[in-house]
Symmetry: none
Subunit: 213 residues, 4 copies
DNA sequence: CATGAATGAGGTTTCATTCAT
DNA sequence: CATGAATGAAACCTCATTCAT
């Protein structure tokens, strides 16, 4: 993407995350991007197109990463990786992920369907890991669907408060969330050194997936 | 409040929850309440005043309930009750709670400060229970502040999907969330029959607190 | 008029004078009068009716007084009395007279015609005195119509700044204006003691005319 | 200024003068300027900004002209020039000057302060000439401050009735006002041919000062 | 006598978007 | 590639007024 195009996109991510889609005006976007509002339209379709593009890109990357991480491994390894992915992504890409999580309602029906389909595929990775783990006896959960919803909210919530200046390094945060998630699922975690290895692998993937931006 | 005033308030809760504050127009409100947009202004100040009133009322009730439930009891009982309260309120009052959780950013600085102060008092009840439980050895958490944030997100998330028509009765849902929360905190739960008693007590309080509406 | 009716009228005079007719809202009037805006309508017709009533009353009294003062006397005495009348009225009834002078343009055509007719009758008293004085050689003016307009503006202007707390007593002010007016007309004034007598007589008339209010 | 910008400004001057600031709607302005009401906002800030700009420009020019005319000369010459300036400006620029004289009350406090400061500087030129003339014995006035106020009202009043179609040429009108003003001040005027010269010089300045518009 | 409730019309200003240059 | 100019629609809110109680 052209550098100016990126500026537009970045401006949109910042403002949509901060003020919401309907709370952000075209002029706000233009000002933040350092352009006139007319010029904006060289780099985007409508305001909603911009939102859709942000959401599909972000969700698409999350899905790609999720699929790679769950291509093999036992349920415990898979859910651990998904939790790490979700937490790290929501921390490293706070703004994009907030837009994805909060602005679904601002989409028109057609666009919403597209985005929801992506999200469903992603969430299916979670549900599958949870269900399999319940079947194998690795997890002890009485309402697996509820567990999925609870875990997703819990892990995604980090985007509402995370800052890199906080007292706990991000790697440690991811470990804590992984522990909490396994607590939710009634599972025992792996030994610490394996857990650290897992987080580092996931972090590397997150960096790779978001690199081209 | 006058019946018409209630209709205005209810319309606002529905629409703010569904479309967001900035996504809801005065005409939408008027139409939903069955009034002309001019008449709306007999029952509210500005649109933001209406939002503030909804948020402070809702948060105020949650805080009152939380304070009552944590007036005594050991940390396990207190955190259990708070989880139940949060889950039940977010299920029974899906719309209000979504507005409270999502529209903080739509408030002007002054109003935001007021609302944030209320929320902080409420969240302090959680932090206090968690910290005490960690100190007594009832909980095993390495990052108590993170645990609080994670639990609040997890439990509040129910407002994003709950419907009374779902396959799991609300009482059971609350029990599941309590179990998951104790898993997050690395704690063992009480025997089932005591847990049911607790949920029923909390449900009664929720009903009472929200009655006058 | 009922005491409440007077309050309404007084409120209108104050606010119309201060903010102008279009700058004054019905609610402003109601608040100033200590009534609800609905109750206002027991004491007036439309907002414009209220304006018309204020203007015709005020102009009517000025006209009555002017006619009395010019019923006899030579041109110098008549113009002196008119100047005194105009100045004293605009000082003692600053607000009414400002409304009369400034809000003609806010009247609808019909009402305007009525008010203009009154004003014309009043101004004719001035023109007549001036013209007669020119004919008798008492005044030396090359453009008598312009002189009339200039004098009326000059004398009425006192309503834009007069306050009873000023350093110069009102009686003195009236004398100064009379002197200036005669200067405008190229006429010599009467001896001081006669001038004072005249002002006092005019002041008494002003008090009488405005008494019933 | 762009031609369209001028049209907006001209429309505002006409309508504010005719109907008053509060009596003029944005749609009236747009219609008069031949624009949509949205387009109006490319050429102005708020409606009040437009008013402020009109007032400061107009007053600023009057002040500049006044300063030039009173840079030297004896009190009689200075006051004569000021009277001519005031009269000619109020005749040639009837609408602007009416807005300046009538709409001070429509300004918000901050803007009002700015405009009042300009007006005070302008009026100070008058007061200074009057006071000096009294000191030198050129004028005979017992209340110099009152004289200033009276003269300003008298001369500015021409904007309320002047039309170029009237029976008296503007140059003659200015002479008549100068004579009347000297009458107010108890002063004898210059011989006719000098007076005519003075008016012509002042008229040239007025034309020059208002040219760039 | 007084008012709360109600409203259609209109207030000023901003919206997202287009297009000629 | 960039923008100033333009606009219909809509934003939030207030207007003057009526009427049942």
């Amino acid at each position: 993407m052209s550098p100016t195009g990126s500026r537009v996109r970045d401006a949109a991510i910042e403002l949509f995350a901060e003020r919401g889609f309907h709370g952000t005006g075209i002029r706000d976007l233009a000002e933040r991007a350092g352009l006139s509002s007319a010029t904006l339209y060289h780099y985007m379709g409508t305001k909603e197109d911009l939102l859709v593009s942000i959401m599909t890109t972000s969700l698409g990357r999350l899905l790609t990463a999720g699929e790679r991480l769950t291509a093999d491994g036992d349920p415990l390894a898979r859910i651990t990786a998904l939790v790490e992915l979700h937490v790290l992504t929501h921390a490293v890409r706070r703004l994009e992920t907030r837009v994805v999580d909060d602005e679904m309602r601002s989409l028109s029906p057609d666009h919403r369907a597209t985005v929801v389909a992506l999200r469903d595929r992603y969430e299916h990775l979670w549900q599958d890991a949870i269900d399999t783990g319940c079947a194998t006896g690795a997890f002890h959960v009485r309402a697996p669907r509820v567990a999925r919803l609870a875990l997703l909210e819990m892990c995604g919530g980090i985007a509402r408060w995370y800052t890199p200046d906080g007292p706990i390094p991000l790697e440690q945060l991811a470990l804590r969330y992984a522990e909490m998630a396994l607590g939710v699922l009634g599972a025992a975690g792996p030994p610490p050194e394996l857990a650290v290895d897992s987080v580092r692998r996931t972090m590397a993937l997150v960096d790779e997936i978001w690199l081209p931006d």
